[in-house]
């Protein structure tokens, strides 16, 4: 396998606020700012961050549900962010999405069989028997009884609905599944079942996941690598164990410290972080985290910290914890990308 399955380069999304026919400059929401990462086949990359940090927008950009303002999304080397609608159609088979809300992501008027076979029918014509067989097969894959084919979503439980959502994503045999908060709407016990189902599917079928979550417990359980986002930017991208063992970026540290850990012996880091995330319409100059950062120095207020590779294979954007070496620094994104390639 040469090259990563998915490679994201300098992905940026600005939402203009209102239409600007008469106004010279329109304020924009900087939802995603210069995000780059890559995902190998069969790997799970988790994206974490608090509400509003742009992680769901990344998912929607990857699926091209929204058009990126700038940047590239490469699947096996082809840039799907630049494709025309018709050409994009064929690439839809490669990546699928599992949605957050198992209630609103299933059409209430369609039966389970109709829901999970629809993606396949967008690409090929199915006979009645083929459709039945496919539906039964997909249901079995996600641990549901084939007798459920005629049920409506309203007749299923939350966990069963999310299984349907996963079955729908699996129907096209994708190489990559983007799971946007796929378990956060479920009970904890059901969460565990769905997570284990995803892990099983990954092992059996070699599917790569981009798993977007705010739940660090879930991320620690299933992630291979973790990207931490803050205000539209990646601030730290590290192998899962390394990140949880020793966070480097002060925001990651604060995030981990805020998460409840079911282990009384584990020492909780005391990082005082207060205030709220600044507005992405008017982000702070320099490092976006500096107004809340206990370590902030003068330089953080002026200069956006570049993503700097560390010894243990992580990249961190922080002037204090990961100061960039001054000599002949290449442009931020390129260096970050090179680093992504080397650790993945």
């Amino acid at each position: 396998m040469n090259g990563p399955l998915l490679k994201v380069e300098n992905l940026t999304k600005h939402y203009p606020l209102g239409s600007g026919i008469f106004k010279k400059s329109i304020p924009v929401i900087r939802a995603v700012e210069d995000v780059s990462f890559s995902v190998e086949a069969g790997e799970t990359l988790c994206i974490v961050g608090e509400s509003g940090c742009g992680k769901s927008t990344v998912a929607r950009l990857l699926m091209r549900l929204v058009e990126p303002t700038a940047g590239r999304v490469l699947i096996d080397g082809t840039d799907i962010a630049g494709l025309k609608k018709d050409a994009l159609h064929a690439w839809r088979r490669r990546m699928q999405m599992v949605f957050q809300d198992p209630y609103s992501s299933l059409n209430p008027r369609l039966t389970a069989a109709q829901i999970i076979t629809e993606p396949v029918e967008n690409f090929e014509r199915l006979g009645r028997n083929q459709r039945q067989a496919l539906a039964a097969d997909l249901l079995r894959k996600v641990g549901m009884s084939p007798e459920m084919t005629h049920r409506l979503p309203s007749e299923l439980s939350g966990g069963q609905r999310q299984r349907l959502g996963i079955a729908r994503a699996l129907s096209l045999n994708p190489s990559l599944i983007i799971a946007d908060e796929a378990v956060s709407a479920l009970d904890v016990s059901v969460q565990a079942q769905i997570l284990n189902l995803l892990l099983d599917l990954q092992q059996q079928m070699g599917i790569a996941f981009v798993f977007i979550s705010h739940d660090l417990g879930v991320v620690e359980h299933i992630g291979h690598r973790v990207a931490v986002m803050y205000l539209g930017r990646i601030v730290e991208l590290a192998p899962c164990e390394a990140l949880f063992a020793k966070p480097v970026h002060p925001y990651t540290e604060a995030l981990l410290a805020a998460a409840p850990v079911p282990d009384p012996t584990r020492i909780r880091l005391q990082v005082p972080v207060d205030g709220e995330m600044p507005s992405p319409i008017n982000p702070p100059n320099g490092c976006a985290f500096h107004p809340r950062c206990p370590l902030a120095v003068e330089r953080c207020r002026i200069e956006v910290p570049p993503l700097v590779p560390m010894a243990d294979g992580r990249i961190v954007a922080c002037h204090v914890r990961a100061p960039a070496t001054e000599l002949s620094a290449p442009p931020i994104a390129n260096r970050a990308l090179a680093q992504i390639d080397s650790i993945s």
Binding site: L65, Q96, S104, S105, N107, R109, E118, N122, S154, R168
Partner: protein, 281 residues
Amino acid sequence: MGRLQLSDLPRLARRYPLVFIGGGLLTLLIILALAAPLYAGDPVNINPFKRLQPPSAEMWFGSDNLGRDVFARTIFGARISLMVGLLSAACAALAGLLIGVIAGYSRSFDNVVMRIMDGLMSIPTILLAIALISLTGPGIGILIVAIAIPETPAVARLVRSVVLGVRQRPYVEAALCGGARLPKVLWRHILPSTVPALMVQGATVCASAILTEAGLSFLGVGVPPEIPSWGNMIASSRLYLAIAPLTIFAPGICLAVTVLAVNLLGDGLRDMFDPRSKRRR
């Protein structure tokens, strides 16, 4: 899946009584109107010797000021009212659906066409219909169009709002992720959601179209005067209310019952289509 059988009828009738009362009444009216030549007399035969007669075995509802059979005229008038009402509602619903769906999906079309719709909405229905009819002269076809056009903006606005709401739903995005193309997304995921609103609004439009037709005919700009319609019957009989009340009450009560039936049906359909009350079997 959802196939209806004859044996389900009593259960459905208990579940959705309004649909059955309204639908039943409307069906009865349609059958009576269609079968009119089989049992009702001649609605246009003028008999000057039998003017303003009380009800008799020959003329059940008596006769009007020209000696015409009021019963026959009422029954034949139902044909006009129902035809104009149903066809105008169908035209308005279809046009409104088309405009609403496109407006819900295209910003530029939305900006232009919905402003025109707003303009249309600000003109009173009867006034606009009279203006349209005066452009071409009276006739059933133009009457239907003239009633449908002022009703279209309300339907278009409603459909547009449903489409705008539904296109944001995750299941529509999920369909796009699954590789569905826009026509299929519209047909399979968006249009079905507009059906309940369209049905209910269609019934309202139908009721109001029947009333508009009666109003226009009452004013003398609706159906040509030789064709009996409830509106022109009431108009021509209003001077004789004291002498022959049935000449006005027969078409008036029929009009009220028809509009009631259509409205009941509309309300019933709204309950039936609500997915929250939807059950299998």
